[in-house]
Symmetry: C2
Subunit: 420 residues, 2 copies
Amino acid sequence: MVFMEKKIKLLNVDTIDEVAVKFGTYFGKMEKKTEYVGIREALGRYCAEEIKAEMAMPEFRRAVVDGYAVQAKDTFCVSDSVPVLLTVTGAVEMGAAAGIDVSAGEAVYVPTGGMIPKGADAMVMIEYVDHLDERTIAVNRAAAPNSGFMNIGDDFNENAQFFGKGHRLSVRDIGVLAILGKSKVLVYQKPAISIISTGDELIDVNEVPGPGQIRDLNSYTISAFAEAAGAMINEIKIVHDDFDKFRTTIESALNKSDLVIISGGSSAGNKDFTADIINSFGKPGVFTHGLAIKPGKPTIIGEALGKPIVGLPGHPMSAIIVFKVVVEAFIRKTFFGNEEEPFQILAAISENIHAGEGRTQFQLVSLLRGKEGYTAVPIRAKSGSISQLMKADGYVRIDSLTEGVYAGNQVLVTLLNYNP
Amino acid sequence: MVFMEKKIKLLNVDTIDEVAVKFGTYFGKMEKKTEYVGIREALGRYCAEEIKAEMAMPEFRRAVVDGYAVQAKDTFCVSDSVPVLLTVTGAVEMGAAAGIDVSAGEAVYVPTGGMIPKGADAMVMIEYVDHLDERTIAVNRAAAPNSGFMNIGDDFNENAQFFGKGHRLSVRDIGVLAILGKSKVLVYQKPAISIISTGDELIDVNEVPGPGQIRDLNSYTISAFAEAAGAMINEIKIVHDDFDKFRTTIESALNKSDLVIISGGSSAGNKDFTADIINSFGKPGVFTHGLAIKPGKPTIIGEALGKPIVGLPGHPMSAIIVFKVVVEAFIRKTFFGNEEEPFQILAAISENIHAGEGRTQFQLVSLLRGKEGYTAVPIRAKSGSISQLMKADGYVRIDSLTEGVYAGNQVLVTLLNYNP
């Protein structure tokens, strides 16, 4: 029996910025793997090529109303009482060249989206036309030169850049790919992540808890967050606290993954040997032993067998914060070249939150909508309450050198479920 | 050559509410198909079962600190100068029954997450303990009764309901499924949608535009929105304006899909015979011929071969609005039993927008973040400009009986990319 607790030694406590620099030092030069995907599989993927226009849009002078292409000067000075008569010489078919020119005194029918014929410099809307016979119209409203159609390149020019490398493709971007003819897009491959849980009390989701046991919550939560961020999950495994078995499982995971995440059981206890195992694979081993954030201090980050490996805290709230703030940012930057800011909204905080001493603080909040906007209600779940945790809509960051925030202050809330 | 334009006859213009009622009348009794998926495939799916707790959480009195389980009364009146000595009789292992009772004068080591032994009613944190020898500790801080652990059911009780039928599973919900032991979840099947584009000017994304041609934008945009809402896309097809070919394609799509969406080419022109084709399959045919919304009026909705069929307007902006406001709401309710409100934020509108006469108006907006929150900038793209459209972050609804909104007013913006 071991009664004495061996506290984890936090030898290299890093700030978020320091960790980002270390990640860059160790993994910044890792080659990003790419692959082509069809446009219908591109949603949520990250561009590995610049998306540019190969042609101007529109490529031809395109009607934006239904009506008649004319020479504008023919319609000057007309009115309801004094219309001008024009000779209809033809009609433009959709999806075809105009195939006919417009001279003075002439009009050619063009449907919305159709090509404006040469010689014409305006569209008269169908509403301002009376059809006298099959070949004659009376125009009763003046048409301004260059009206009723888009000029070549009015939307965008050849070589216009739409998305840079690293941009994550959202729903609205898919239409842009379509119009540009990108039936296939070069994207970054999804990194394969293995999640290993450790803790004698943990059982898998399909097992029935015996005395003192609890189902593994964190691995599945982290897995869902990682997939929502664009990664793929290789495997989720639970290993009980046996050094050799744990080491073998981690070695196998390192060999077949781009990133290994270790999800701790409970708080730092006498069986916490994650750092020892990481270091057992040789240099560089653990390079960050503790994060200067609250919650999330007992986080371990290192390199083993050339791969990044992260040991998350066991508290569900801490695990979520460390994943979102540190690990997801690393994944996006390293595997996807993505440094886009997460979506944030302003909300009034409902309680005072003091700044942590020397540690950046993160507070999970639940959002309540009122007439004046959202209120962010801090989730206090020191005990890891699931019923509280499932109310989390986002988190608030409070820097250590600030006074903290007071009830009623507007704070920025980063949304947990928003993945552009 | 046809010079005269035959305007679409909008015989049954419905409001959004009227359409919702009609959808309910025609398709409300459709059987929702269900299937089991593993927890790792559950993200973004809609529950087809109520998710309840089969057991209380915690199931046992669970330590939330590292320390010693004691009888609180033994520690009353102690202090740094007058500690109490307790006999350590054992330690609780993680993931196991306590297996030992605590009597007066005794202490048992319990790690965070471990089971509190019978007889104990408080935890003394390790910080307030001096280890005198292997079997004796000095406690120098009083422990309050019922402190340092969670009682059975403190988090939630047996039968606590977490999600109802129709709830869409978000990232944070996956952890809840894990803790509840839902390794498989009954969800609603993804409805299969076919999207048929029509318009002589349209070519597919992998084709090179000839004179007057343009690649099909709307089908891919709508496809991405539909997938983001949880549906699956059977096929995307372009059919040029030939009645028989179009009818055959629609018939085939109806037979293999749960919903058919027809994406119009350009605005109402002489070749717009979507309604005729829908009606050609017999009763009930088209039941909504025009929507009292702006943009989005030229929308056709009906039932053919027992399946819902929707003809969207050709203007990209109108198509997006009608899909999000009418079609997605229908899909969520009919196939997923989901009526959860979409996520909205408040933003200051940058320009006046007048209410439409007799029509609910929707305005796509781009969001700009400032110190005081977001500004919603209306996207004016009458011509269907892609470069404008790709800036759309959300939309604002302006009811017809209101005055409209004035520059600076706070308006609700429904986010296009947020899919909880």
